[in-house]
Amino acid sequence: SQQGEEDPQALSIQEGENATMNCSYKTSINNLQWYRQNSGRGLVHLILIRSNEREKHSGRLRVTLDTSKKSSSLLITASRAADTASYFCATIGGSGNTGKLIFGQGTTLQVKP
């Protein structure tokens, strides 16, 4: 079953603008990861944030985690046409979970040049 729910399902912006995607999850987690999937391709790991972290940066990516609200956000700054892809959050469960990576439904991002 899916754990994460991404919001919005689809996002269209102009090149240079910032893109924000949100993810909500249901159960306790050890860490949360974001992946990118270009059309017709496999998934690429972007960034991981642990449950005891609140914010993490990697290049133009900024991820926040609020465990009290069971939510995370991915911010892509100064977007480029090459950022056009689907973005998925995935969670690793806490106690009682075998460590299975559970994906959300994804946000489809279109960056117009």
Binding site: G42, L48, R50, L101, I102
Partner: protein
Amino acid sequence: EAGVAQSPRYKIIEKRQSVAFWCNPISGHATLYWYQQILGQGPKLLIQFQNNGVVDDSQLPKDRFSAERLKGVDSTLKIQPAKLEDSAVYLCASSLRDNYFSGNTIYFGEGSWLTVV
């Protein structure tokens, strides 16, 4: 470094036929995963191997799906007989070890696209 290799990339079969997908993980990766991704949805874990043992196959429809990793390296996923709802991308992935909690990066292959008609 070579990535996760999968074949075939595309397959079209009729319902009730069988199909097999092959995966070769990154060299040295002990953990191998098969995910099913239906169009418009996120990937769903079908089965996870640690070396040649099964760690999790709770979401594998065992009446029609089977998977093996006999020598702890490459793996095959078989569907027999296929149903229309099996149309999806089958993603193979691997990671160095099974310790999710240390944040192992999981590397995905390009996927095998299955259409059942």
